[in-house]
């Protein structure tokens, strides 16, 4: 495996506005990195720099350890991209998919074979002679993916490829894209502002804000334990809890988070300062007096609903437990059935395995968001 793509000290300005300013980003060979962040965070610009499409004002991109630039044709030929708008060229679908092959001087017969194969992979077998400009959004995006895949790139760059599609097609294509990327164990950089998409396709994630990296690491770690308030808010969870390990035995640690004691799996020496977090999806709520069936869920608290918001199909609820805020995702039916509202007494339940823990000083980002 090893590193495929790495960038050091990348800085890019448009006029006096700094769009990207990052120390270090890397993707391991065969893995997918999601660049996640709100609009204007510099995701697309960073992607363009990583893909050797734009020259950074400072910094260096490395492909397999070798310094590369936008003038390095050999390196550029090992990469391919698909963007948010498919930007299909005038002509047939086959013309579009064959574009990169033509640039590489592949003979016509082999081009035809490769195009047919690529179209089959994206579920558009036999669509070669259709006009590229008569397609629906989802179909066009499949063609754009085929146009990149057909080149069998070492690095695949995808810039919000699904964000302009309706939810039904988006859901299906997310699955398809994730499968195709993993089948080929292609090194992929995937730009998105949708964390669900990021979780579906990526192993590692970089969260960008105003051109800077605010969080970086394995998808489960970053999503489960965002480093600061802003990132937590962006990811739809509560800020991490700061606490101290009070005991550690048989793979289970007890953490005093300033009131309740939260259990997590792992082995950390007592007295260690840590940050802990749990994804809202992993937190269950029960009525305050309900008799909860025995289960393996170690963490059970009494709390008060302090905030309730409807986010799409689910409610996002914040429960206060002895001054500590814990978020939960609850279906509309459950909220109706339990009659939940601000001030309701509830029981909060989650498993020790759902809790992410990180030593406090490792990130040191808790108060970075001033």
């Amino acid at each position: 495996m090893g590193l495929a793509l790495r960038a050091e000290g990348i800085r890019k300005e448009y006029g006096k506005h700094v769009v990207v300013d990052i120390d270090h980003v890397e993707v391991a060979a065969g893995e997918t990195l999601a660049l996640l962040g709100p609009s204007g965070a510099g995701k697309t610009t960073l992607l363009a720099v990583l893909g050797l499409l734009e020259k950074p004002d400072a910094g260096q991109v490395f492909l397999d350890g070798r310094p590369v630039s936008s003038k390095d044709t050999q390196a550029r030929m090992q990469m391919a991209a698909a963007f948010q708008s498919p930007y299909l060229f005038k002509g047939t679908i086959a013309d579009n998919v064959a574009y990169g092959l033509k640039l590489r001087g592949i003979p016509a017969a082999r081009r035809r074979e490769a195009v047919a194969e690529a179209l089959e992979r994206v579920g558009l077998s036999g669509w070669e002679s259709r006009s590229a400009l008569t397609l629906s959004g989802g179909e066009a995006q499949r063609v754009a993916l085929a146009r990149a895949l057909v080149l069998k790139p070492r690095v695949l760059l995808l810039d919000e490829p699904l964000s302009s599609l309706d939810p039904l097609i988006k859901g299906r294509l997310t699955q398809d894209f994730a499968r195709i990327i993993h089948e080929d164990s292609m090194t992929t950089v995937y730009v998105t502002h949708d964390q669900n998409e990021a979780m579906a396709v990526a192993e590692t994630v970089v969260i960008l804000r105003d051109g800077r990296v605010v969080a970086q690491g394995h998808v489960d770690d970053v999503m489960g334990l965002p480093p600061d308030d802003w990132t937590a808010g962006f990811l739809g969870s509560e800020p991490p809890l700061a606490g101290t390990v009070i005991s550690s035995a048989e793979g289970l640690v007890a953490i005093d988070v300033g009131g309740p004691v939260v259990y997590a799996t792992g082995e950390i020496a007592p007295g260690t300062r840590v940050m802990a977090g749990v994804r809202p999806e992993d937190v269950l709520l029960f009525e305050g007096t309900a008799d909860i069936p025995r289960s393996t869920a170690r963490n059970r608290f009494q709390g008060t609903v302090s905030d309730i918001q409807l986010w799409g199909v689910m409610y996002h609820m914040v429960v206060e437990v002895d001054g500590v805020r814990i978020a939960s995702r609850v279906s509309r039916a459950s909220v109706r059935e339990m009659g939940l509202a601000q001030g309701s007494q509830v029981q909060v339940v989650f498993k020790a395995t759902a809790v992410r823990v990180r030593p406090f000083d490792e990130s040191g980002r808790l108060d970075r968001d001033e």
């Binding site: 499409l53 030929m77 708008s85 930007y87 400009l133 080149l151």
Partner: protein, 235 residues
């Protein structure tokens, strides 16, 4: 109204009979128009591409100058070319004044900014990200430029047609540097001026009809091409 009836009758008669004089005029018209359109494309299209697709210092000034060039009255261009080519002018030694060459030079100065300006607008309308997409699939700068021209081809074609139209209908510049010499530098527009001054409305109108036919054919072709592309694009 009798004057119109007479004119139309004369025009139709002349058109069907034809005459050496008439054919000379038509030939000279086409010669000047084709030379100055081809030269206008050769200078204007690359210029337009650079203005539309790249960013450089002084680009806005160049675009402003080009747009001004599109609107300069042909007589002014005729005057300047005439001054250059006149016996006392810096290029007087070439002895080009009152020739088809002189007319072609003046008309090229008219067609170039038109073709450059409209090509720039057409190419600028190709989204930057489409070119970025081509680049990401391995296109070199030149391949990227060719793709942008291909994407903007309807606009580029319209630019060429506008350049052709401007030179085929222009009268001021060709009159000044060509001199409207019968059998040599007389073209359709200058002939119309000449014949109507003489009161020969029939001949003038016949020439006008021929001019309109040329323009109509040109535009008809353009419209047909646009439609065939639109059908292809599924609009």
């Amino acid at each position: 109204m009798q004057v119109f009836v007479d004119a139309v009758v004369t025009a139709v008669t002349l058109l069907f009979q034809g005459s050496a004089e008439l054919w000379n005029v038509i030939a000279a018209t086409f010669e000047v128009a084709i030379i100055s359109t081809v030269a206008g494309v050769a200078f204007g299209a690359p210029m337009g591409f650079v203005m539309g697709a790249t960013r450089f210092r002084g680009r806005r000034l160049l675009i402003a100058l080009t747009n001004t060039g599109m609107a300069v009255p042909p007589v002014v261009i005729g005057l300047v070319v005439m001054m250059f080519l006149s016996r006392r002018g810096p290029l007087g030694f070439l002895g080009l004044l009152y020739s088809v060459d002189a007319m072609s030079i003046a008309q090229t100065l008219i067609s170039t900014p038109i073709i450059a300006g409209l090509t720039a607008a057409a190419v600028a309308s190709v989204p930057y990200k489409l070119r970025l997409q081509a680049r990401s699939l391995g296109a070199s700068r030149i391949q990227e430029a060719l793709l942008a021209l291909k994407e903007a081809r309807l606009g580029v074609l319209a630019a060429v047609a506008s350049g052709f139209g401007a030179v085929v209908r222009g009268v001021g510049a060709v009159m000044m540097v060509g001199g409207n010499i019968e059998g040599q530098t007389r073209v359709l527009t200058t002939a119309i001026v000449q014949e109507s001054r003489k009161g020969d409305f029939g001949l003038a109108l016949a020439l006008g009809l021929i001019l309109m036919f040329i323009t109509f054919t040109m535009n008809g072709f353009l419209t047909w091409y646009q439609h065939s592309n639109e059908r292809f694009e599924g609009r």
